[in-house]
Amino acid sequence: MRIYVTGYGVISSIGENVEETLISLRSEKTGIRQGQKTYTERFKVGEIRWSNDELVERFSLTQHASRTALLGMIAAKEAFKGHELLADVKTGLISGTSVGGMDVSEIAYKDFLNGETDDLNVYRNHPSGTTSEQIAKELGIDGYVNTISTACSSAANSMMLGARMLLNGQLDRAVVGGTDGLSQFTISGFRSLMIFDDEWCRPFDETRKGLNLGEGAGFLVLETEETIQKTGKKPLAVLSGWSNASDAYHQTASSPEGLGATLSMKGALSIAGLKPEDIDYINAHGTATPNNDLSESHGIKNVFGNTVPPFSSTKAYTGHTLAASGGIEAVFGILALNNGSLLPNLNFSQAIEETGLTPVKNYSEGNDVKHILSNSFGFGGNNSTIILSKV
């Protein structure tokens, strides 16, 4: 049974919807710039310019909530646009997030620490699970709601769980993806790890120093063949493969030989029934940290040998959007499938000496792109891969 993608929605620093996103990808225009908010102004970030209140108004949202929830509502609403809630189509929502409502709770907590009165109701927005319940409410979905929190692989894992629940017959349709809003907590966290680049990040480049952070959300609507008969939706792509594996190497670092990455890519190929040579483009995790890109390069070479397909990291467009990245990059993947695009790895100039891999440098269309493999790797060695295929 095939799992069809029948809707997609995205918001990030390169666009507020799918259409704007494609324009930015085509024009090789990064969304990373000097931050505008108090906690981002010292750094280069892939920030969405609007405040939380502005987001509510601009996108006609019915709830005031954390940034993570609001961005999720925007992308999920775009994905679900034109879809109807039907009594005989059991619909669930699975969202991934790493920090949940931290952007609002950290402000209340700061007041508390300073001995000022903190608004206790603000903390209601804090739990990651609540962000998903709020997104589901915005869409009117109450069949099944779940939140995956595996750091930066969360959205990929949400898509994977959605597909598995469809195959198993627990759901007929699933809205899946991920969302993360920038917060002081995350920015300070990645700075404490000293994997933060003050310049533009350079994935897969020998001179890479670290990542730029970003924010956003990306969601897909998944349906089975049977559901499509009922909804009459036209598929945009097929979610053909998925896998998750544990690197079990270190709390934060990836294994030098890329074991977890290798396992997850091989696992996804196996579910999809594809051979490595069937993959036409790899959207790598490619955070631009010295450790990730080296480990992932080894993983890619382990799976693809000497014939590595065109690959790139799009993190230099959006920054690392953490739990949202797999969702945002799945939307990029579907755009690439349907336009025959290969997406460029911006800011690249020099291959990593140890692996010698050169990513796609320029945007192009009209290529024969049938199958795309997309990687998302999280803290704790949580490695996930999905494969998207042309209908």
């Binding site: 404490s192 000293m194 709390q251 934060t252 670092a253």
Partner: protein, 84 residues
């Protein structure tokens, strides 16, 4: 110098939560990282950077510098006395 080393050992134990150790358990020239020594890892290396900043006012901005500096209590003490 020996005062500095003793202080360092106490600070290392505190910063890295090495509750089971006393300063006497850490030899001046014993490797701090890897299985041969205290078995510290890359997260501890970052904690060393915090320790140098908060206790000695020394800022290390490139974590790859740490490899040389954090080899042992001796190398750490050397680095501190040269940079303070």
């Amino acid at each position: 110098m020996s005062d500095l080393k003793e202080n360092l050992k106490a600070q290392i134990i505190e910063q890295l939560n090495l509750e089971d150790l006393t300063p006497a358990d850490i030899q001046d020239d014993a490797p701090l990282f890897g299985d041969q020594g205290l078995g510290l890892d890359s997260i501890d290396a970052l904690e060393f950077i915090v320790l140098l900043d908060s206790n000695y006012g020394i800022k290390i901005t490139d974590p790859s510098q740490g490899k040389e500096i954090f080899q042992s209590v001796n190398t750490l003490a050397d680095f501190i006395s040269k940079n303070q």
